[in-house]
């Protein structure tokens, strides 16, 4: 219950932040730009619109995480607003879960808004059949953002906003190339191979959440993929938040 209260408060804080409004407006402008740039796409304007629309959810979501999420906990510690929360019957792990849940909910709202705008644009231009693929792709993008948010919350609880943003960005980029890293590992000698494979396993496998190529053709993905991605995101977020909670538990707030 207390985690939900923290989540609700975090959601309210993030939604009232002008950064978020600016980013949503930027996403919608980007979507409109794809229609202007259509003549340059040489017949691939529909693919361009879908690809850019879905990419904008991931990249703009990442921007929100780096600007808001990377300072989410640290800002509360520096500004001492955390004193009024942790002096109540609120276990520290639930505080972190609440912060993660609140930002994830705000990002889900952004994803739904931008996804809805993309779906509307496609429906207006006579491509309503893309609705299922777009919905699935937006759902997976939301899961991807939830995973990145859990990392940002962990780093934010243990580090400064700048370092936290850098670590989060590093994990995001490395997570995009997780499969490539595994490919590289197969060509390495024993010892190095295991080490690289372990790193690849620890990094978030973000390619699991990317179905932009499928959605660009209007093709939906399988229920099994959605189920696996959901399970993986839940497990990864759970592990990261458990690690963060363990480190946060012994912190002093002076």
């Amino acid at each position: 219950m207390n985690a939900l209260l923290i989540a609700q408060n975090t959601f309210r804080e993030v939604v009232r932040d002008r950064v978020l409004a600016g980013i949503v407006i930027g996403g919608i402008v980007l979507l409109a730009f794809t229609k202007v740039a259509a003549p340059l796409a040489m017949g691939e304007d529909l693919r361009l619109t879908v690809d850019l629309g879905l990419s904008s959810i991931s990249w703009l979501g990442l921007l929100v995480i780096l600007t808001v999420g990377a300072a989410l906990v640290n800002k509360e510690i520096e500004r001492r607003t955390i004193f009024n929360l942790l002096s109540r019957p609120l276990p520290r792990p639930l505080y972190l879960v609440g912060k993660w849940l609140g930002l994830t909910a705000a990002l889900a709202a952004v994803a739904a808004l931008l996804g809805g705008a993309l779906g509307l644009l496609l429906a207006v231009t006579g491509h309503a059949s893309y609705a299922m693929a777009i919905t699935q792709a937006v759902y997976l993008a939301g899961l991807e953002l939830a995973v990145i948010t859990s990392l940002a919350v962990m780093f934010s609880a243990l580090s400064t906003p700048v370092l936290s943003a850098l670590y989060t960005l590093g994990f995001f980029l490395a997570g995009q190339w997780c499969d490539d890293l595994r490919q590289v590992a197969t060509r390495l000698p024993s010892g190095s191979r295991e080490a690289v494979e372990t790193i690849a396993n620890l990094l978030p496998n973000l390619s699991l959440f990317n179905m932009r190529a499928l959605a660009s053709g209007g093709d939906p993905t399988s229920a099994l993929h959605l189920l696996l991605a959901t399970g993986y995101a839940a497990l990864y977020c759970g592990c990261v938040l458990a690690l963060a909670a363990a480190a946060f538990e012994s912190r002093d707030f002076r």
């Binding site: 408060n9 009232r16 001492r80 004193f83 942790l86 109540r88 019957p89 609120l90 707030f253 002076r254």
Partner: protein, 351 residues
Amino acid sequence: MNAQSPSHQPLTAASGIRPDPYRSAAPAQLACREAAVRIVGLTKTYMNPWTLKRTCGLDALDLEVHRGEVFGYLGPNGAGKTTTMKILAGLLKRTSGRAYLLGTSIDDVRSRTSLGFLPEQPYFYDSLTGLEYLEFVARLSGMQAQPASRAARHWLGKVGLGQRERLVLRKYSKGMLQRLGLAAAMVHEPELLILDEPMSGLDPFGRRDVRDLILEQREQGTTVLFSSHILPDVEALCDRVAILLGGRLERVATVGELVEGAAPTIEVSVAGFPLVEVPGAFAGTLRRREAGGTSAFIVEDPARLQEVLGWLLSHGVTVTSVTPQRPSLEQLFLAAAESSAFQAQGVRRQG
């Protein structure tokens, strides 16, 4: 708190939101019950992560605050007052020792269910309104949505912010934020209040309101542990005080005990500015004070009053009044601090 503010209202009667069997009892009876705060050998050391040097914030503190009493926690900056309060509130982890709030160990998060804590210079979320903030913290302390909303409105009105409930906190003045902090500490009607410098940054009207609020809480049986540098307020409010110096507890006593136990002095006021010099026979017993256009002699040893009076009269000095002087809490506190510093210096020399 700003008395010039149009929203300023004097603090009034209690709300009685949380029924509590202890509340109807008189403070004297409450003091006999289990301690509201029990601290046993509480120690906190800080380590610099770069130099690995350890500094002691709190050194084996033993302390009990009885239920229903107002307890003043005194000490100069760096004495360990805030450290103690933050450990009790769950913000700092202790190095060793134990502590209990209302019988529950501070390791158990439920020990903070009936705790109201006001940190020194409280900070808030800029984008929330006063009402939203109080509803939020009331619910965090376990209240349901409807009662939390009622209590939030009640307390906003009680601290004089009733007309500003929809104003976002970034537009609040410093005094208004301090009032909101007090309301946040009390919105869930806690049994124990820990207030770190509650009068800090307040004007005289604000200080008076906080004093009234603390007295009102005592009337209801709430235990109040508070730190302050404003010693006259402590003297006026507290049943007992603790003096903390360098992380160590120097003394716990009632204000009366502290004052009674101290050596009294006698002030002998005289007319004009007599041209007499204190003789060597009165060295350490008598000193002269001239301030504000008056002249007086302070007799440090009351047993020698007759001798002093005889000497003054024999030199033709007109005595206008003889007044026994009781040292203020401030004087006692400063004397304790100086004595502790002197002893510490002695230990260093011996070492």
